[in-house]
Subunit: 338 residues, 2 copies
């Protein structure tokens, strides 16, 4: 695992590794969104990716790059959400064990997801135990590497393959993106995609979209250094509640990002309903954040070609039905997906 920042070349190599392994999700477009935005808008539907989120890309790339001698000991990760499933799926592909440190109160749908993929779950108590410490102990015991959720060059390079595909697919249509809107938790996805845009379409504006109250990237950009979120829970966007930007991701994002905007829970849910009605895709709240920013006119998309990342679709049916106007939401405010 290299400690240096990834380059565009690392994304190209990751794309080779992922060929035929990840789903090459096709860009979607709908007149009604173009009209709302005042220009063409393409959606990159990573909810259709394996494990229902882009996280498979980075996890697979990281595991593929491991020395087979090392990899045979299995891998360790901590995450209560999409990264957990991405690592479990990648480990399954390579026929090695994945141990995932998850909170004992993680949503059952995510626990089952990891178990179904053959992942070994080690539960920790949020009140009394440190997941990082627990993961380090397990990793030392098994001589197995830890696969971080975002702050790692192989993870960032893997996520960046989504950006590479966007650039290639637009190019095939004779287009370039003027604006790319991407949800941000730890910042790995937007960092990797930003690298791809910088290389292939350097004029594209890169915008971070964060949930209100979890605007650590927006505030870190303003401060010129990494600052923490003031809150640790309380957004419906469970996948976007990382406590602060990563060291590596921020080193890239501080130069690559044009800026950031924040969206509310209600705006995220309205975007989920919009995606249901017009795009027929299932988005989780965090996965709908970038679309929400466009629909709520928080980004200047007029007369621009815009690409919106729709990063994942792992959502509880109750929350989804609530977004559609039915049912009640029972989401766990403590559930941070990093």
């Amino acid at each position: 695992m290299s400690p240096t920042l990834p380059t565009f070349e690392a994304i190209r190599q990751a794309a080779e590794r992922l060929r035929g392994k990840a789903i090459r999700t096709a860009l979607l477009r709908h007149d009604i969104l173009d009209e709302r935005a005042g220009g063409p808008v393409f959606i990159k539907p990573e909810c259709l990716q394996h494990v229902g989120a882009f996280k498979f890309r980075g996890a697979f790339n990281a595991l593929a790059k491991l020395d087979p001698e090392v990899r045979q000991h299995g891998v360790v990760a901590y995450s209560s959400g999409n990264h957990a499933q991405g690592v479990a799926a990648a480990a399954r592909h390579f026929g090695v064990a994945a141990t995932i440190v998850m909170p004992s109160d993680a949503p059952s749908v995510k626990i089952e997801g990891v178990q179904r993929l053959g992942g070994i779950i080690e539960f920790y108590d949020r009140e009394t135990q440190s997941r990082e410490e627990m993961a380090r102990e397990i990793a030392a015991l098994r001589r197995a590497p830890i696969i971080p959720a975002f702050d790692h060059s192989d993870i960032i390079a893997g996520q960046g393959t989504a950006g590479l595909e966007i650039c290639e697919d637009l190019e095939a249509m004779g287009l370039k993106a003027d604006l790319f809107a991407c949800c941000v938790g730890g910042g790995g996805l937007v960092a990797g995609c930003g690298l791809a845009f910088n290389a292939l379409s350097p004029k594209t504006e890169i915008w971070a979209v964060e949930p209100e109250g979890f605007d650590d990237h927006i505030r870190s950009l303003a401060a010129g250094e990494r600052v923490k979120n003031l809150r640790t829970s309380g957004s419906i966007c469970d996948a976007l509640m990382a406590p602060m930007p990563g060291e590596m991701t921020f080193a890239l994002n501080r130069h690559q990002l044009t800026g950031g905007v924040a969206i509310s829970d209600e705006e995220a849910m309205a975007a989920m309903a919009f995606a249901f009605h017009h795009f027929k895709i299932v988005l989780e709240p965090g996965g709908a954040a970038a679309l929400a920013a466009v629909l709520a006119e928080k980004l200047d998309t007029k007369n621009k070609t815009t690409v919106v990342m729709a990063s994942g679709g792992n959502v509880d049916p109750a929350i989804f039905s609530k977004a559609l106007g039915f049912g009640r939401a029972h989401y766990d405010e403590e559930d941070v997906d990093v």
Copy 2:
């Protein structure tokens, strides 16, 4: 408009016309479905197509083939559902008027869909008026051609491009389908796809999936001639309630189909929930019928490579939430989508 049966060459030509116009929907796959089926299963997610259903393919192909002199008078169609929106979208592309004859009690979501695409709606009363007669009158008055929903060679060839893409995408993975399961209303989609499979993968079994009580193809295959459904309403699969097989579609399907199976409303809803949970796609009940047949083990998929058509996703949020276990369904039992 040619009265002869379409050939595989017509599908190739339709694919050229649709290039860059229709979305080339990428096959989806999930381990959990493979495990349930006992072999690899690929989903063709035509819910992600323009207008949320495969119907755009046939409508666009039919309009593209019209003499521009004829096309400038606009086109006429009768449909309460997906075909209406497909014709309206294609007409909009060519900058001509689309008049759609719809029942006065059509679901508002479908009326709005056609209006949003610029379609002109002429309402008829189901009790006292014939939509076919009304469409003929409007067509004569405007000297505009009628675009049928399924029983037309250009429509069948257009829908067949979905089958062509399936064969091409499997070939790129070094695979051939052993079994193709496709929902059937009027039979245009399975007829066109069947042509593609016959040409490129002649050993593939082609199975029709129909709603219980609307098994006109299954009974027609048994009878050796076209027979009508005994019912005209009462399935949740509103898109699959055509009264009987088309003349042209049955001429193809009687030779191309291996057989047919019927699924219940409950099985369709369970498949919708399965697609939500694992594939993150929105399917309408009829669009989930083929998946339902696999999940309910009505087809022998064991040790076979199976392709499942997921034909559309135009579903009322209430029905969708009901499938997920929330909300009540308020569907209109009279709503036949042909």
